[in-house]
């Protein structure tokens, strides 16, 4: 969508004659108009997807990461039908088929998977739906292959163009604008004037009460999911004449949609509409102004498009924490214990165990070849990365969905410093400092928000950082990244570097573990478990959570800095969404319940990902299935589930000892 807009902007801005001022002004005005219309056309699809996401969120309280994948499937399916059935019939049948298939996929996903995690903490839900993204991407890869698929134009007159002030504008884009407005009308009618809509609104506000009044949640949820998925599929199909079907559509769109939904207010359809228009126009204007004005500044504006929407979102959330049209969310009972069991800080015995384990892995280099040394280094880095996130989620009780930002900033900070000729130690420190700075800044804004909003804002911040790094060619090397980041001679041996990485990362992990035992750790858990009470006894809750977020972000930066030197080169991938999710999966895999959990999860995940990437083309789907299996069957992670099983056995044994047949 981005590129298409930029291209049109360029086309619209061409043919400019350096003639009269009035001419130039008129030309600028029509370019502006065209860009605005173009923005509105983009807004239509964005609105449809966002409306589906927001409807689903309102009722089920699940932020469906896979919603962008339904959109992607929509484009592919419309393309397939349009290719198979010739003429206008194929085009229209494609639209219908896309909506229908997306609805079917949505219902299948809802009944088989999501239904089981409605009570789960939001990070678990987000991770599960991200697993679906991975699986659906590989399904698309298997069915349609890796090439982009460009669909036919809209049939007949709709495929033509009209003139605005001497510039051509596609009729189909005008149709999209009309369809967007019509869908707003239709959805408003559905929610305001039908019994289904009434029950959706009732359940959005208080789903437990709706159930107590006899509303069958299951049917309502499935119905809403079908509707929301169909909207996403339709939106994709409507985009077919504008952009080719590609495997990258899902994540590219979902970030935009998250932003729209958050700006509009979670659960609000008019909000989604206003926000979609706002975001699309801001982006379009950035392009228009960048094209019209001449000079160095214009470049900055067109490049601002990726960041602009996130800036709008941050600004809106600062003024209205629930979005433009959103209301404070009624607390939905969440089974926190699904994730971890609140319990006292780990004992010194556990720390001793950790030290012994450390000593054991230190002797590894003796038996390791180069490949294994690299893998072991990756594991050490991952362990610190995961533990730093676990600190934010566990004792901090917060959810970060953009942890890769701090990891990546650590990597880029270190790499840039190294390229500037700083010494090894100073470069590591620079990475650490950059990550810390970002964590302080972003943390200040996001720790005020709760649950879903915080998860989405941290994700948005990570996206901002990613797009800045991705576009700032002059400094960050853009999509190519930075190369030639090597440690000093003394550490150039793989085994030696492994020992060094292990020492630094272990120190980081131990520091986090130790923080749990300090008064700071105790206060943090108090704030997490009973915020109001903690504040009542004088603990500054926000300052503690902010500090915890900063600590977590900083140590992720350390992991990133070590990572940069271990690889020798880095690319924007180090701070993209999938890496944030990797960290979450490591944490969930190991479990938050134990100190070792995230470390164990990181080691297992790194080993698994390495193995999968080497053995199957469909490693994404395989990983997705592993994630789903963990979320559905052992949400406390492997270590947590094992611990809970042991505790249950111990309790049962104790009970059988003194009281036969008692209890639950």
């Amino acid at each position: 969508m981005q590129d298409a807009g930029g291209l049109k902007g360029k086309l619209a801005g061409r043919n400019r004659r350096p003639a009269m001022r009035l001419d130039m002004l008129r030309s600028a005005m029509s370019a502006f108009l065209i860009q605005s219309l173009n923005g509105l056309a983009s807004a239509a699809s964005l609105f449809l997807v966002a409306a589906g996401l927001t409807l689903i969120f309102g009722v089920t309280r699940i932020v469906n990461f896979a919603h962008g994948s339904f959109y992607m499937l929509g484009v592919y399916i419309a393309w397939t039908v349009a290719e198979g059935v010739s003429g206008a019939g194929g085009f229209w049948a494609g639209l219908a088929a896309a909506a229908l298939v997306a609805a079917l996929v949505g219902v299948t996903v809802e009944t088989l998977i999501l239904r089981r995690i409605y009570q789960a903490p939001e990070l678990l839900q987000l991770t599960a739906t991200f697993a679906l993204v991975l699986i659906l991407k590989d399904v698309a890869l298997a069915v349609w292959g890796p090439e982009d698929r460009l669909g036919p134009r809209a049939p007949g007159v709709l495929g033509g163009a009209v003139e605005f002030g001497g510039r051509a504008f596609p009729v189909w884009d005008l149709c999209l604008i009309a369809i967007g407005v019509a869908m707003l009308g239709l959805l408003t009618w559905l929610t305001r004037r039908t019994r289904f809509g009434l029950l959706v609104r009732a359940a959005t506000e208080d789903r437990e009460m709706a159930a107590a009044l006899g509303v069958n949640e299951r049917w309502l949820f499935t119905g809403v999911f079908a509707l929301g998925s169909a909207l996403a599929g339709l939106a994709g199909a409507l985009q077919m004449p504008r952009e080719p079907a590609s495997l990258a559509l899902d994540l590219a769109l979902i970030a935009d949609v998250f932003v729209v939904v958050v700006i509009g207010g979670l659960g609000s359809i008019p909000g989604a509409f206003v926000a979609a228009v706002l975001v699309s126009l801001v982006k379009a204007w950035c392009i228009a102004l960048g094209q019209v004005s001449v000079g160095a500044l214009s470049l900055d504006l067109t490049k601002l498009t990726l960041v602009a929407e996130f800036l709008v979102m941050a600004a809106v959330l600062l003024v209205r924490p629930n979005g433009l049209f959103g209301r404070p969310l009624r607390h939905v009972p969440v089974d926190r214990e699904a994730l971890y069991e609140p319990r006292p800080a780990p004992s010194a015995r556990v720390l001793t165990g950790l030290a012994v384990a450390l000593a054991a892995v230190t002797v590894l280099p003796v038996v390791l070849d180069d490949y294994s040394a690299v893998l072991a280094t990756d594991m050490a880095v991952a362990a610190l990365f995961a533990t730093s996130l676990a600190f934010i989620i566990g004792p901090g009780g917060m959810g970060s969905f953009g942890h890769a930002a701090y990891f990546g900033l650590g990597a880029y900070g270190a790499a840039l410093a190294a390229q500037a000729g700083w010494s090894f130690g100073a470069a590591l420190a620079a990475g650490l400092a950059l990550a810390a700075l970002a964590a302080v800044l972003f943390g200040a804004l996001s720790v005020r928000l709760s649950g879903t909003y915080m998860a989405m804002l941290t994700l948005a911040f990570a996206q901002i950082v990613w797009s800045v790094v991705f576009q700032w060619d002059a400094v960050t090397g853009g999509s190519n990244g930075l190369t030639g980041v090597w440690p000093p001679e003394a550490l150039s041996d793989r085994n030696r570097f492994y020992l060094f990485a292990l020492a630094l990362c272990a120190a980081g992990v131990l520091l986090l573990a130790w923080l749990n035992l300090t008064p700071f750790g105790h206060a943090l858990r108090a704030v997490r478990d009973a915020r109001v009470k903690a504040e009542a006894i004088g603990l500054p809750a926000t300052r503690f959570t902010w500090a915890a977020f900063t600590v977590g972000g900083t140590l992720a930066g350390l992991a990133g800095a070590v990572y940069a030197f271990s690889k020798g080169s880095i690319s924007p991938d180090v701070l993209a969404i999938p890496r944030s999710v990797d960290a979450l999966v490591m944490v969930l895999l190991g479990g938050l319940n134990t100190l070792f959990g995230p470390v164990f999860g990181a080691v297992l995940f790194t080993w698994l990902a390495d193995g999968l990437a080497r053995t199957t083309e469909y490693w994404r789907a395989s990983l997705g299935i592993v994630i789903l299996a963990v979320v559905l069957s052992a949400p406390r992670g492997i270590m947590g589930t094992w611990g809970a099983w042991r505790a249950r056995r111990a309790r049962r044994a104790a009970r059988e000892g003194d009281m036969p047949g008692g209890g639950r």
Binding site: R201, L213, G214, N216, E217
Partner: protein, 233 residues
């Protein structure tokens, strides 16, 4: 004596590892108003929520109209004819009064002896709600909300009404009005289990009173179950 409409046996309930109810045993007979009295935190709300299927960790037996309902989904329990009016009213604030009533509407279960409720009958019972029809639920006063939440549940044609502290936070005059309504519903043939702290309100409506203290029933009608309660302490 008739068979009880609701029969609770050995009902225990946990929040996490903390036990909140200890082996409750009681019956609610058809057509009676049974008051569950007790202080704050005694377990009154928990008992009603457990019957409604809103608490996950519950043990024991709950039998409604001859059917075991423990473990059933709340909406299924509601559809059998159990109506729940929560303590904090939980009006849908974004919905109008008329829409709130519509959200609660559902047909009576087959064979229900209760005359079906219609909007007209609701408006006769609560004339005030007719005037407020288009007002958002969030814009009502506490007393009006209490009427609306009760009316909304009645629209679902329940046979057994679970009323959680209907007098809480209301002016004495409104409390009297609510008591009058409860007596009227009893005349309509509804069976009512309500929790209450207000002694005067209790006196005005109760056929029988159970006293709940720290999750244990203190004053039992069925003598043979006393031992059980002691044992589970």
């Amino acid at each position: 004596m008739n068979a009880p409409l609701l029969s609770v046996r050995d009902l225990s309930l946990w929040y996490g590892r903390a036990q909140a109810l200890f082996g409750l045993v009681f019956d609610v007979m058809p057509g009676e108003v049974l008051v569950l009295a007790g202080r704050n935190g005694a377990g009154k709300t928990s008992t009603l929520r457990a019957i409604m299927g809103l608490v996950p960790r519950v043990s024991g037996e709950i039998v409604y109209a001859g059917r075991p309902i423990r473990g059933m989904a709340p909406h299924a329990i509601a559809r059998l004819g159990v109506g729940y009016v929560p303590e904090d009213r939980r009006i849908f604030t974004e919905l109008t009064v008329a829409e709130n009533l519509e959200a609660g509407r559902k047909p009576a279960p087959v064979g229900s002896p209760i005359r079906p409720w219609t909007i007209e009958r609701i408006h006769t019972l609560f004339p005030k709600l007719a005037e407020l029809s288009d007002r958002p639920g969030g814009a009502l006063s506490g007393g009006e909300q209490q009427m609306l939440t009760l009316a909304r549940t009645l629209m679902g044609n329940p046979q057994l009404l679970l009323l959680d502290e209907p007098s809480e936070g209301l002016a004495p005059l409104v409390v009297e009005r609510i008591a009058e309504t409860v007596r009227e519903l009893k005349r309509e043939g509804l069976t009512i289990l309500l929790s209450e702290q207000n002694a005067r309100f209790t006196e005005a409506v109760a056929d029988r009173v159970l006293w709940l203290e720290r999750g244990v029933l203190q004053n039992l009608i069925d003598n043979d179950t006393t031992d059980k309660n002691e044992k589970n302490r």
